[in-house]
Amino acid sequence: MKFREYKIGSRMFGLAFGLSMTITLLFPSFDLAASVSSEVGLDKQLAIGWDSGWQLSDPTLLGLNKPLKILVKKDPKSGKPIEPAIYAYVYPAGTSLPNGVIHTANLGHGVEELSIKDGRITEAQKKDGAVFIIKHSDHLETFEGKGHPLAYVENATATMGWTPDDVIKAAADTDILHAGSGKTMFVREGCWWCHTLLPEQTQDWQVFGAPPMLGDFNGMSPTSFGSDRKGPDLLHVGSRNASREWMMLHFFNPRLVQPHSIMPRFDYLWGKVDAKGDKIDFAKWRKEYDEYREGQRTTPPDVPMYAKDSEIRNLIDFVVNLK
């Protein structure tokens, strides 16, 4: 080894690099690990499920292995109406459970204890599936001297006997949101190269809504904040515009509703057939649209209604769910 003379140098290097990793990785990890999941965070993590990027159970990002977010208007067991209606997060049998249920520490101090004790989340099993709801505790959790009501997760399968099948059967299709699969579409289609999910802590929020808080992301992967914007921030887009019709036209061809948009067309997410099961003739549509653009037609061709199980349905569910 002719490296002897560099002994001091290599040790200094180890020290410098080690110190830098300690400050930039180890120290922040304590802070971040201490974050307590907010209600927004719980809703996101339960609606989106385990992971939205590449995963072994969905290697080509088709939106598999995902929960459903379902508006429950009456108790699926007793049939009694629930006023006001609540959202249930339904994990059909075999669906990976969200991170906070598997690693409860992820929920943060207070929420973790409540979710285990009152919410019985540790009884949820991937192989049988589970239904979760968000509950609020009566006792206040003190944090920095102030009392905060905490939201926590309840395993409705354990506490009330709601099975995933019950809840899905009792719900109308319009009450079911495929927001989890939609997030996979959002990641796969690269919406986050043009849209952020992170209003900034400046005036930004007056247009795009409140910037997120610590605890709004627990259990989410990937967070897909996005780094450069070519379109509006989408974190709260569902509160600005929840019209599914507008979304449908806009995704099929953004220039139908916004002539100056540079957003790409996502018509290919419609798949082969429309809601009635008829084959969609894209070539014809594009031809007619070009004629419309050149002024040979007074109206653009009609946008086909998407099928219930199409990818665009998932994506629209995800987008309108961004409240």
Binding site: F3, T60, S221, S224, P254, S261
Partner: protein, 469 residues
């Protein structure tokens, strides 16, 4: 050809083969990467250009461009520089040409596979670490670890007393790349989530740029300038300052990419301050190189490699002035998430670093193939198209970014910002297409050099011969 050497005995492989293969691979990836870039730019200027298919959607192609230029062009050009410069500086041969050949072969395969999958939408959804973790592990195993082994073993088996500046950087950067790659992808192996995932994503992105691309590009300048001008490096002390301040200051400001996320405030303030300190290595580097040029400034005009290197070094000045200040809160507020950042990214990678890598590949291929550059005219054309194309890109996106920033702060309806940016999007596309065409010229020029360049007599260096065309 390459197959013949993959299974040959190490001593039967001609010296420099792996560097030559890496050199040509890098130029090919340069062509592919900038071609994709210019295609993407066309889509942002004219959204209905090639539309309606998943494969050619912007969201599927953008990351392919970015990773093709970073891991194809830039990193392979680095590998070429290392396999050629490290042995020369150690007065020895590359530790293993065979490992180098396999490294090059597997690198091309792993990258093509990863990019094809990503093009289909197979992504982890994390910027810059977009590859799913099995591909990440393949990259570590076939790309960065073999490269580091070869570089380190060559340095350890050197036949010189000391280690020259360039080789410190090569040794440290190859080592840090492995660590950054393995640690930065932890969220994927262990399914870390939430802000931890977001922060680690940017920790990776920041360090890949700061601990891999910047130091290795600088190391190239430390070699090319003294070698070609014949001047000794102005100061080894300043070189030390550069090296250590990169390790200390450049590895810490990762959080400045997430200034508007709810990360701990101390972390953001820390990153903000550390970020300004990158001016230390930057000033050390630029002054050291420019002072080395003393008395030889005529070569800036006359010699192609020097011209590329010095332009790269000069571009490091605006680059670091931007880099040092754009993460202070008062400025980040304005420019975060706008085209300004895209301009800055291209100033770093297409300006500063690409010019330095191009110099290394020009010089290395001529030296190793013992052939003088085929045509100076084509070389000049390459240089000017690259410089003008890049400047057009940089200026247009900077303006677009400032418009976007103003729109953000004055709450202009977003669509008006999109309309106002449109001319600059077209300008960017034109500039980028110039860069793309320059790469085709370069590929042709290097190919012709390999076939028809004048043979350089042994013991002579390329710049000692006159250009013939």
């Amino acid at each position: 050809m390459i197959l013949k050497y993959l299974f040959a005995k190490n001593k039967d492989i001609p010296v420099g083969s792996s560097a030559i293969y890496f050199g040509f691979s890098s130029i090919l990836w340069f062509v592919i990467g900038t071609g994709l870039g210019s295609f993407n730019a066309a889509k942002l200027a004219f959204p209905d250009f090639v539309t309606g298919t998943e494969m050619f959607a912007f969201g599927h192609m953008r990351q392919v461009h970015v990773l093709a230029v970073i891991f194809g062009w830039i990193s392979m050009a680095f590998a070429m520089a290392m396999m050629y410069i490290t042995p020369i500086l150690g007065n020895t041969r590359l530790w293993s040409e065979k490992l180098g050949m396999w490294n090059c072969f597997m690198w091309n395969i792993a990258l093509s596979l990863g990019l094809t999958l990503m093009w289909m939408g197979v992504t982890s959804g994390r910027e810059y670490s977009d590859f799913p973790w099995p591909i990440d592990l393949a990259v570590a195993a076939f790309v960065s670890i073999p490269l580091a082994v070869n570089v380190w073993m060559t340095i350890l088996t050197r036949r010189t007393q000391g280690i020259y500046t360039t080789n410190w950087f090569f040794a440290a950067a190859t080592f840090m790349l492995i660590i950054v790659f393995l640690v930065g992808n932890l969220p994927e192996y262990f399914h870390l989530t939430g802000l931890t995932e977001a922060y680690m994503t940017w920790w990776f992105a920041h360090n890949v740029l700061g601990l891999w691309i910047t130091p290795v590009a600088a190391a190239i300048a430390y070699y090319v300038i003294p070698k070609v001008t014949g001047n000794p490096l102005y100061s080894h002390r300043i070189g030390h300052l550069h090296f250590w301040s990169i390790v200390v200051f450049y590895s810490t400001p990762a959080a400045h990419h997430l200034m508007s996320a709810p990360l701990p405030e101390w972390l953001k303030s820390f990153a903000s301050v550390e970020g300004v300190l990158i001016l230390v290595p930057a000033i050390a580097f630029v002054s050291n190189i420019l002072l080395t040029m003393q008395g030889k400034w005529n070569m800036f005009v006359e010699n192609l490699e020097i011209r590329f290197t010095v332009v790269g070094v000069l571009l490091a000045i605006p680059l670091n002035m931007q880099g040092g200040f754009q993460q202070t809160r008062s400025i980040n507020w304005y420019i975060h998430g706008t085209g300004w950042m895209v301009a800055h990214a291209h100033l770093a990678l297409l300006g500063f670093s690409t010019f330095l890598e191009a110099a290394a590949v020009y010089l290395g291929l001529q030296t190793l193939m013992k052939r003088k550059l085929y045509s100076l005219t084509l070389g000049n054309l390459h240089f000017w198209l690259l410089l003008i194309g890049f400047s057009t890109y940089w200026i247009s996106m900077t303006i677009a970014g400032l418009i976007q920033g103003a729109g953000k702060i004055y709450e202009v309806p977003y669509i008006d910002v999109v309309i106002a940016e449109h001319p600059y999007m077209i300008a960017r596309w034109l500039g980028g297409s110039m860069v793309f065409s320059s790469t085709l010229i370069w590929l042709y020029n290097m190919w012709m050099t390999a076939r028809e360049g004048t043979i350089i007599p042994s013991g002579r260096m390329p710049h000692e011969l006159a250009y013939e065309r």
